[in-house]
Symmetry: C2
Subunit: 381 residues, 2 copies
């Protein structure tokens, strides 16, 4: 078991109607003025927008609104948020939406407190030394951004989809009301399920040490995601399934699963980011294309763990069968499993690999993931 | 899945030699003067005492020493610590030892910041509103006190072993170096294993809702404890087993396993506290006596979960066999499984039940756990 430091100070307020307390949570945290950040308007249709405003008003929390965060969130919107936050002197960022909104909220929180260009953090040109506090109300479960310090943002000028991580960006309080998530369509439910599984298996397969407990936690997450996804595709109103799905999404990427492992990395995310950067496919949809291809390419590099995966998840003694069954499950829930499924031409492989290789250099993974290797993996997709 | 609030701000510094950084951790946290609390001297024999002092001196941390915390820690020592802390104006409590030391450190931290009698918190006469920060270096894994806000203290005048809980008592930083734990004898290793299993199964069996993920986490903890205990009884120097044991001990009682469950309680701890209060048996030793007796009494009240336990842990479709195998495993690792094993006369059952019933009233469990019921359970022990 490897040495590690674990800290996750985010407070989770989980349950029905808890979004109505957001003003109180902010007031109790000493916040008087926030940037209220959200997406493309679904929170207005659902009535959530009004409930948030009511709670803020009731608790005398001033707010400045910024709408229009899109999935694969854009650096331009982040910069807009930074300028707006500075102009109005907000004390915190309140992100209401899915992972894209929260990731943007974090990037704004870091950017407001930094004199230079916020993109400096993403290209390792600067380290985050302080940030405004972030609060969230989640409408989609997948990224676990609600309980970690990660943020992934797309630079629309350079087509780079890069990430930052700092405990300073961990939300202070995240509100998880599973009922807010029941309007998510079956396509995004499937993409979310893939994303959660991806978060779990990256380190599970790539780490050079595998404490049994970590493997068991990952398998617990995967089994729970698969079970609850199947329930929700049949009955989107099943509250308990929705709630468990939301909670394991968080556990998959809040620091628990890798603690004590060594040498893990995120190759599937590395490659996927090029798909969403160049073809704007949903992150989860890109992952279900990449994962089976990557698994076929990687399986012999850690055969013990692939055997374990096949046995524990699919009750199979055959590694290839485990991979096939995961791919079949992705297809069954409606997530693409080939470039063709996502209308990405095979002629794009070289450009995708080139984009991903640039990320590999930033992530320190370019030794294993050369352009040629990434092309080889994508050929299997 | 039930509504819940989850927060656990403790930072875990896990790994070899990390105790040598304690002075730095304190300095970085803005602390200049601490109460250095420890047990009955084993840290002097091991050399840990000197390493702590060296690190404190190197970082210009002033300290006042208080030794002599015993297992089943006493209120008198807590009060001594409060007076000493006030006299010297310490800014934090540094507990170096096992759960008893850390529990005492927390009670001191709460007591220093309170004008009344610290015991008020234990009998629900007062609520903890503030506390000094607590830091720990662990030499024994079992209580998970290193990553929660709980403290159990024994009032030697009233023979009450009661507890408090507040996130204000969560250690700011806990140092877990598994190497510091390898001198623990096989008896206390066994008691610790029992304690960890007890922490996991209390809510697992007693909750009225059982999200599958929570059950899976508990089963992951139990399997890992059983595996690593058996490795360590054969080879106390196995670092990885020691480390996994230490980490799952924390996971068993840091708030993760009950999150989202409803109606769970701690009946085995309730009853055990009377054994350690009246007969000073080690907490884990008391638990291995109580648990099989309680399981035999309780099994029909939640038969689905008992079936799950037998199947997942012992690969058995028979509930009674699951209980028998757990009892046999406790005996196999050297923990007592009957009152006789711990030299507690059967004539004491009435007095034990009376003591436990008083705790049941404080814990709000006296409706189900009447004196007669507790006697009935103890008769099975």
């Amino acid at each position: 078991m490897n040495d590690f430091t674990y800290i996750n100070p985010t407070k989770i307020e989980f349950g029905k109607d808890k979004e109505n307390n957001i003003g109180e949570y902010l007031a109790t945290s000493g916040i008087k003025k926030v940037l209220f950040l959200y997406g493309t308007g679904s929170i207005k249709k659902s009535g959530l927008y009004e409930r948030v405003i009511n709670s803020l008003n009731k608790n005398n929390i001033e707010f400045v609104e910024l709408a229009g965060v899109v999935s694969n969130p854009l650096l331009g919107k982040v910069k807009e948020g930074i300028l707006l936050s500075r102009k109005h002197g907000v004390e915190a960022i309140l992100g209401v939406g899915g992972g894209s909104v929260v990731d943007s909220a974090k990037a704004i929180a870091a950017g407001v407190a930094y004199d230079g260009d916020v993109w400096d953090f993403f290209i390792n040109k600067a380290q985050i030394a302080k940030a405004l506090p972030v609060f969230t109300i989640m409408t989609l479960s997948a990224a676990a951004s609600e309980m970690n310090g990660n943020s992934v943002v797309m630079n629309e000028n350079t087509q780079q989809k890069y990430s930052i991580a700092s405990v300073l960006l961990n939300p202070v309080i995240s509100v998880i009301n599973p009922e807010l998530m029941k309007t998510v369509g079956s396509d995004y439910l499937a993409y979310s399920a893939v994303d959660i599984i991806a978060h779990s298996i990256e380190v599970y397969f790539t780490a050079t040490t595998h404490p049994a407990f970590n493997s068991r936690i990952v398998e617990s997450i995967i089994k729970t995601v698969m079970e609850t996804t199947e329930v929700l595709l049949k009955n989107p109103d099943d509250y308990d399934a929705r709630a468990e799905f939301a909670w394991v999404a968080i556990q998959a990427l809040n620091g628990l699963t890798p603690a004590g492992t060594a040498g893990g990395s995120f190759p599937n995310h590395l490659i996927e980011h090029s798909l969403s950067a160049l073809y704007n496919v949903a992150h989860g949809a890109g992952l279900s294309i990449v994962i089976p291809a990557w698994m076929k390419w990687y399986k012999d590099k850690n055969s013990a763990q692939f055997q374990r995966f096949s046995r524990e998840i699919f009750n199979s003694s055959n590694v290839d069968e485990g991979i096939e069954k995961l791919e079949a499950w992705f297809a069954k829930i409606g997530s693409p499993v080939s470039l063709e499924d996502a209308n990405i031409p095979r002629s794009a492989i070289s450009a995708l690999a080139s984009n991903a290789y640039e990320t590999a250099k930033v992530w320190g993974m370019s030794e294993m993931y050369t352009q040629e290797t990434i092309e080889e993996i994508l050929q299997k997709a």
